[in-house]
Symmetry: C2
Subunit: 348 residues, 2 copies
DNA sequence: CGGCGGGATGTTTACGTCAACATGGACGGC
DNA sequence: GCCGTCCATGTTGACGTAAACATCCCGCCG
């Protein structure tokens, strides 16, 4: 069978390409270069010509081809975000902030979810998001099984990590976890509690570890006894389980949960066990989710600004992309104690 | 000043391009075409040659250039997701599901957030995400100010809309909102409540409207009185405000809130007003967030499967991309009633 | 032992854009 | 009136890849 030339009525399977500059140029009776100039808003084009080209563009439905543009310029104007546990409160907020910060700069976001943060998954994400598909990468992976040294990144690609760990070669941005945990613990201590129990996040999580250590350091600095930390997995259910154990111990009067969801589970456990909040037991969370103000009772918690984290991460990355030099110091954003109704002095 | 040729030590501002096939070819002593064959896993390459090329790739750190590939093939292997209110429970879950479904197909996701779903924003998103930058688009915009007819989409680009509205020309996937609202209302009715009050979502939201209408229809079908719907904005705070008003009316024994967050606000309002849940007032939510099982009391609610929605949307879009033909019928996924402790028969 | 088939590999070219250089006409100054 | 300048526009080529086509070599069969 002779090779068939695709003509007017192409079969459905044929990838129809959109009109190119050449089509516009033909339509407007100018050269392709002039079309390019108009498309890029260059000034040295006669007004009449510009109008003619614009009209031709509209007529043929021209859209610039970003692949050709990227090939030509060596830039994609897009950044990759490697993210695990996307639906998580903090991560989705941060991602939204990143997106919002990136769009006005004319960049777009390529999302690379990893289901589990194993070495294979992360490097896999990197090769899919292969070196040349993005101009830079933001890594937003809460919980690693792996050392930074194991993460094999294509060399020379700008990277920013959102994590307050100092173990990276890359610029780092995060909320100041230690600062927040210290505020929470101090708040309870200053209300008169003799010590504060802690429900930690999973040990693989750096921020969980940082909160736990800071809680411990704050107690030690105050000369308080350091009870053993219970460990959860961020979920309300794990908070509930831990809360049940705490509720059974009448000496417990103050609990600092490493996030609001676990704090919610604690509240439920306390209610079910008939222990009043805050008159018998005080509870502090971490995150300040939108819901927390309406827990029963409304939760005292640590507010972190995911928006600021996203903004700073984008700023650092874009700077690195433009200048080619890495941002220096890690950025740690301060947190804020939000006092509501779940904390009070201990029973007399 | 004579033009400076970028040599070995280029200034930081120089965009360094990665090694190309030509570099690998030179290194391996073969033609570029052979490199291409190896990169694409073609079979007609001698094993020894393949090894040599692979080694050369590793040595020079070769990564395929996706821009060139996209330009060559006319396909990007990426899909755009236009999304508003990303940190929202349902949206972040759906987005995650979309991402998870898309990656194994070798596609990547380009995220286009719109801050407000106005005409300008949406069309703006489309032109940024210009026709050729993606192979298809999923629209996930909860709440429009605009008619479908006003959304100007580049013609011929495959689109799937996540929304159960029938007002689109495009294939549509969503949870069956009407089904869910009907289940919630029937559940309360079947417990013996004479009627059910409703706290609706914002009227600009199609799903909010659908839930409200279905609640009303279910009451009418049962011959129950239809109390006026209160309207919130999905936030716990708005649920709290509405809850306060409902709590003040002793005739209210059953409340169906259009989402779990508003239900949370209602619970708080009821607690503060001293009305017991569920013995005096029953409450049903919608969504089944992870937290809802640990509300006080644990919330009876409607579970929707955002994962399934994401999967179906991707399947429909990919099919449209491959075959060029639109999927036919809208897909409506069933919901599920999850009974917990916030509902009971009305007080005698 | 010559020709033929087939697999491995090389060469050419087009994809759409835009920088760099080329061209050509208008206008102003001397 | 001649030359230099500036501005609008055109022409060429390169970015990295891969399809289509060309070539070459080897082994097998008649």
């Amino acid at each position: 069978m002779p090779r068939q030339t695709a003509t007017s009525s192409a079969p459905a399977s044929t990838r129809r390409r959109g009109p190119s500059m050449a089509d516009v140029a033909r339509e407007a009776g100018v050269s392709g270069q002039t079309v390019s100039r108009v498309a890029n808003g260059k000034t040295n084009v006669d007004d009449a010509t510009r109008e003619r080209v614009l009209a031709a563009m509209r007529r043929v439905g021209y859209r610039p081809n970003s692949a050709a543009r990227a090939l030509r310029n060596g830039q994609f104007r897009s950044i990759g975000v490697i993210i695990s546990a996307l639906p998580t409160f903090g991560n989705s907020r941060t991602l939204d902030a990143i997106a919002a910060a990136v769009v006005p700069e004319g960049f777009s976001i390529i999302l690379m979810p990893v289901t589990r943060p194993t070495q294979g998954e992360v490097t896999g994400a990197f090769s899919t998001l292969n070196e040349q598909a993005v101009d830079g990468v933001i890594i937003l992976i809460e919980q690693h099984q792996l050392d930074q040294s194991e993460i094999e990144l294509p060399h020379g690609l700008p990277v920013v990590v959102i994590d307050s760990s100092a173990r990276y070669d890359y610029p780092v941005v995060d909320n100041d976890q230690a600062d927040g945990a210290s505020r929470a613990t101090s708040h309870l201590l200053s209300l008169g509690h003799s010590t504060v129990w802690h429900i930690a996040g999973p040990p693989q999580s750096y921020s969980a570890e940082r909160r736990r250590k800071s809680w411990q350091a704050t107690l030690e600095r105050a000369g308080s006894a350091v009870p053993p930390a219970l460990v959860g997995d961020w979920s309300p259910e794990s908070g509930y389980q831990a809360g049940l154990r705490l509720a059974a111990d009448p000496s417990v009067t103050a609990v600092f949960a490493a996030n609001d969801q676990m704090a919610l589970g604690v509240l439920r456990a306390l209610h079910e066990s008939g222990r009043a909040v805050p008159s018998e037991v005080s509870v502090v969370g971490f995150d300040d989710m939108e819901e927390s103000a309406h827990f029963w009772p409304p939760l005292t918690t640590i507010r972190q600004s995911f928006e600021a984290v996203g903004r700073h991460a984008v700023r650092a990355l874009l700077a690195e992309i433009e200048t080619g030099t890495e941002a220096g110091e890690p950025v740690l954003l301060p947190t804020e104690l939000v006092i509501r109704s779940s904390t009070a002095p201990p029973p007399a």
